[in-house]
Each structure stands twice: as structure tokens, then as C-alpha cells.
Symmetry: C2
Subunit: 376 residues, 2 copies
């Protein structure tokens, strides 16, 4: 049996990009990887059969949603999340913090944890670092995330520092609880906060690295700050993180963001963008975004993306995809989601390939040139 959870196979000579592998109880994940978001135990509109067809190796599931419904204890009783949803690939769970904090009217934070009301039925709940760990242990996810405070943007340095210190305090409590109670195969990631302040980012990363987590996430980005700050924070944070542990840029992002993240040494991404946008009729193609409801596609018999090999692009026309969207047909969500995920996973596949060939920056340049040509 392998000892290492993660290994770097090849790194770029041009930048900080690297290709690696994460070894989980539920399969090997090639990195850099994009993780489709499976909020409530399903990647919305995607049968797992399709996710498998897409070569998906890891999905993200939301602790908050599963805790509320159907409940982590029920899932544990039924053998854990993998078994409950019938998914044999790897699962990363978030901590629940992000969802709890984003319902501003429904929550109250103190040092112990967060009191909040369910968005489903208004019932009262309390999540602490320990509770978040316990839920994720019950779910049995392969990668467990620390319960952190996602500092909102903008925040003064003082507020950001206080928030970061809370995240660090909670990190200690998470790790302690996790190590005592985890399932043997589970891994825990620390999350770096610090808003857009270099010194805070560096300090937070250093302290977490001292605690020795299985991997590290860069959190609190893509929350409204300018792109250049997001890239800068990613850059300086990644520099502090150890080479031999996976780095995960949370909640990111656009196709451009994937390239910028990889270039700065990020190994893992997740975002609702490909799936949520799909349901709203916003489709990603090699020549930029397509808003499928646009009247100009009414009689357009061409495929969504002539350069895409997914079954949607091989079989269906833009005119039909538009018709399905305009008619609010469920098939619209299915086909759009399939295509967008194919597009995202295909980018990652090609990124890995380009790094192996040590031509990542060249691929990035070519991809973005075409992507920004917008000739749809």
C-alpha cells in the first residue's frame, strides 16, 4: 500500500504548475483537478452514469445541505455518503461554514461556533468546529475541510486579522477532534484565510503548515475582490505551502481562473459555475460563452461548440438546445450541464497534458486567445 496521500509527478519549468496524483480510498485523482459540485448528494441534473462517462474522479458535497437533509446521522447509518449516493469515486466535503455564514440574517457567530436557522424550515442549529468534523466523519468523505470563517470582502485589516485568528483557533480544534475520531482513510485540509492582506495570508499559511495538515486550501477568495488581488493572494499563499501537499483554491472559478490558478501552483478547484450557469442557459465553449436563449440561435443548426467532442455537441444543434431552454424542459438542464462539465474537465485534462509536455504557458496562451475571440 502507498504511504503518500499526494505525489507530484511533473512540474513545469516555466511556472509553478505541476501535475500530481491524490490517492484516496475511493480511487486516484489526477491533478490539477476540477471538482464538480454535488450540493445535496447529487451533481444537479447529472446521473452518476454521466459523471463516470465524463471521467470524473472526485466530486464535492456540501456538509451544510446534507446535515440538514437527509441528515449526516441517517447517511452514516446507511453506510456513509459514498454508499448512500452510490458513488464510488472520491468525495471532498466542505465544512458547512461557507453556507452558514452566507445566510447573514439567519446566523450568529461566537468563539464556540455558529448558531443558525435552517433555510428549509427555519429550525435552529449550532455548528462548531467539532460538530463540523463529526458531520464530515459521519458522511465519510475522503477529504474533510476545516471549519473556518470565510472573511467577507471588503474587510479592514483589523477585522480580517481577527477573523483569521478565529480560523486558526478553530483549526486547532478541528485537527484535534478529527485525529481522535476520523475514519482511518480520511484526510483533513487546513484553510488559509487573511482576506487580501499579504502579511495575514502568509502568517495564516505558516501557522497552518506548522500544524501539519494533509492538504491546504486557499479560502476567502472569489468573494468579490478584484481578480488581480485574487491571483496575487493565491500566488503568495501557494509559495508558503509545502510542495508535497495538495493545494486547493476554493470556489474558483472561470476557465481563465483555472489557468491562472494552475500557473500559481494550485492543484484543486471547485465551483458551481459550470453547473449553475448550465441551468441558466450560459454555456462555455472554446470560443467563449454562449447565452443559448439568444434569438440568433433560433435556426442555428450548428453544434454548440464545433471543437467539442461531448455527446451534446456531437448530436444536438444550438436551435434544439435553445428550444429546450425556452420551454423550460428538464432536458435543457441535463444537456447543458453535461456539456459545461465536459468543457471544464476537458480543460483540466489538457492542462495536465500540457504540463507533462512542459508547454503549459503555450497552451494557456492558445486557449485564452481562442476563448476570447468570441466568434459564436
Amino acid at each position: 500500500m502507498r504511504k503518500d496521500f499526494f505525489e507530484v509527478i511533473k512540474s513545469s519549468s516555466e511556472c509553478k504548475a505541476r501535475v500530481g496524483r491524490i490517492f484516496t480510498e475511493h480511487g486516484v485523482v489526477d491533478t490539477p483537478v476540477f471538482m464538480p459540485v454535488g450540493t445535496a448528494g447529487t451533481v444537479k441534473a447529472m446521473p452518476f452514469e454521466f459523471l463516470e462517462q465524463l471521467g470524473t474522479k472526485i466530486i464535492l458535497a456540501n456538509t451544510y445541505h446534507l446535515y440538514l437533509r437527509p441528515g449526516d446521522e441517517l447517511i452514516s447509518e446507511l453506510g456513509g455518503l459514498h454508499k448512500f449516493i452510490s458513488w464510488n469515486g472520491a468525495i471532498l466535503t466542505d465544512s458547512g461554514g461557507f453556507q452558514v455564514f452566507s445566510h447573514r440574517d439567519l446566523r450568529e457567530i461566537d468563539e464556540k461556533g455558529v448558531h443558525f436557522k435552517s433555510h428549509i424550515d427555519g429550525s435552529s442549529h449550532f455548528i462548531s468546529p467539532e460538530k463540523s468534523m463529526q458531520i464530515q466523519i459521519n458522511l465519510g468523505s475522503d477529504v474533510v475541510m476545516n471549519f473556518d470563517e470565510c472573511t467577507s470582502f471588503p474587510a479592514t485589516e483589523k477585522i480580517a486579522e481577527k477573523s483569521m485568528n478565529l480560523t486558526l483557533d478553530w483549526a486547532v480544534r478541528c485537527k484535534e477532534y478529527f485525529e481522535r475520531n476520523k475514519k482511518s482513510y480520511q484526510k483533513l485540509f487546513g484553510i488559509v484565510q487573511g482576506s487580501v492582506y499579504k502579511n495575514l495570508r502568509i502568517k495564516c499559511a505558516e501557522e497552518l503548515v506548522n500544524m501539519d495538515f494533509d492538504g491546504y486550501a486557499i479560502g476567502g477568495l472569489s468573494v468579490g475582490e478584484p481578480k488581480n488581488l485574487m491571483y496575487e493572494m493565491t500566488d503568495i499563499t501557494a509559495d508558503v505551502l509545502p510542495w508535497d501537499k495538495p493545494r486547493y483554491l476554493m470556489g474558483v472559478g472561470t476557465p481563465e481562473d483555472l489557468f491562472e490558478g494552475v500557473e500559481r501552483g494550485v492543484d484543486m478547484f471547485d465551483c458551481v459555475m459550470p453547473t449553475r450557469n448550465a441551468r441558466n442557459g450560459c454555456l462555455f465553449t472554446s470560443r467563449g460563452k454562449v447565452i443559448i436563449k439568444h434569438a440568433k440561435y433560433k435556426k442555428d443548426e450548428s453544434p454548440l461548440d464545433p471543437d467539442c467532442s461531448c455527446f451534446v455537441c456531437r448530436r444536438y444543434s444550438k436551435a434544439y438546445l435553445r428550444h429546450l431552454f425556452m420551454s423550460s424542459e428538464i432536458l435543457s438542464s441535463i444537456l447543458n450541464t453535461y456539456h459545461n462539465l465536459y468543457f471544464y474537465l476537458d480543460i483540466m485534462q489538457k492542462i495536465r497534458h500540457s504540463i507533462k509536455l512542459d508547454s503549459f504557458l503555450n497552451f494557456k496562451k492558445e486557449f485564452l486567445k481562442k476563448y476570447k475571440s468570441k466568434v459564436n
Copy 2:
């Protein structure tokens, strides 16, 4: 090339059940057949990839919906409905009459046709027998249905007769227009009306048979009349219809109805029941219906139907299907629809097999005994 549109391969020695084949421009359809309903050019929640996996050879599409959106002329311009929706199997279109008549507040009937308002935007429209033919010719469906008046239930004999006479008048106009303008491969079915009056049913069937259609439908049933009357009308109507033409019982029905119809000589069925019920969480199994939201399935790790070989039953538990339904996840509609259609198509497959073995009544008895046991 074959000359005949339909052939009977084997008939039961016990009853009027028969196995046959319909030869269309878009493939051969084994009968008795159940046609999934693809209202607006999509069988709701079903990628065509799944319909193919299910062995679906023919689907029904709704003239009314496609006429309003995206429009039959647009579809014609794009090469017809098969090409527009990317479906290489056969397509039967209804006449649009049923939908037009069912919007009682929105329509006005006279001898020329029906004035109605769109349920989408309230715009005014007029469909006549000729217009219905033209729309279906534009769509390019393999089987075109006469524009008839679906007599509502209950109706006095006098009203039913008047309505039937309108249907017969329109049948003449439909056939005339169709023969002059059809695409070479298209076939036209006459529709027998007559409410629950034997003499009217027989008269209507006889007159239509004299006009010589490619097939015959039994319409105006399953509209609220008692089951025994529905079966009786099917029975006496089928007796008048020619042996060598397919018979189609419109809008029917439950699993039991499929058996009762086949026993009385019906070759084709369609119904929204498997697909619509699926989206509402009502699932068909070999042991009766399962209402998946029921609390008793909360921790039920068993498959929906242990005797079903569909991928839903092989992979997912009732507990997960319940969770998806309770969370209003799109995947709920997808998996439920797949299973229900599998169940319906599997019944038809087994019915055909049993007729070939001349043991249809035995199979019917066994199936219904188990189906009514309700041990879910």
C-alpha cells in the same frame, strides 16, 4: 422494399392479442408497443441516449405544443422534427385537437375548425383539419393523426352522435388534404369516436374503415368513464377494425390497461402516466405503485423493485430516491422517469414474448397477481 406498413406475425389462440411489426421510414416498431410521450420534442427528463438504451422505437410528439413553440414552420425549415430533436426512431404526432379542446375557456369550435388562445402567451390561433394536417406534414412525423373532436364524458347520445359526425366530416377533409400534400413516407390514422355508445362506436369505425386509413385509433376513452365501459368500447371497436391495420388506443393507460387493451386486439398505446407520475414521485414496480416520499422509505436501502433490471434499480436505494425527491432535485425526475419507462417498455416486451408463446393470458394473470400484491 416492403409494401406493407403493418404485418401481424403471430396471434393468440386465447384472445384477440397479436404480435406485429410496423415498418416506418425511421425503423421497425414491434407491437404491441407503448409510446413514451415527448410533448415538446423531448420525453421529459430523458436524454435520447437513455431512450435508446431503453430500446424505444417510437415516441409520440404533440402537434399543439410544437406548433406554438418553436413552430412547425421553423422545424420544417430545419429539416423536420426527427432532425430537429436528433431522434432517428419513429415519431407519431397527435392532431393537436385534444390539447385545444381541453383548454375549455380558451377555445371556440365550429364546423371549420377551432379558434383557441395559446396557453403560453394568450395569442389567438385557428386549427382546422387541413391546418392540423399541414402542421404534421411540416413536422414530418411517421404517423399522422386525424384532427378529431374528442367527445368529453359524460355526453348524451345525441351530443355524442353530433360530435362523432363532426369527427367523420373532418376525417374526410383530413384524408383529402393529407393525400395531396403528405411526404411520401407518412401514414394517416383515422380516429374512432362515439363516446360510450356501442352503435356510435361501430358506425364511426365502419365509416372510417370505408375511407381506408393506414391505421385506426380508438379515441375519446380514458376521459373519465368507468373502466368496464372503456374496455367494452375498445372491444367492440376493435372487432370492426381490419385485421391487417394497426390499432391504437389513445391516452391509455395504467399497467392493467395495457393488458386489457392487448387482450382486446390493441397494438399501440401512449400515456403520460409513466413520465408524469415519475416526476411526481409515483413509481411503478412489479409489486404495485411506490409513493417514494413516504417516510417508511427514509432508511430503506433496498432497490425500488428487486425484480427490475434497470440501472436505477441496480444502483440506487429507495432511501436515496426518496432524498432526491424530497430535495426537489432534477436527478429525481431523471431516475424516476427512467425506471417508469423501463417498467412500461419491459411489460410490452414480455407481452410480445408471451403472445409468441401463446401464453398471454397466463402471463397477464401472473403479472396482475404480483402487481396487486402491493408488498412494497
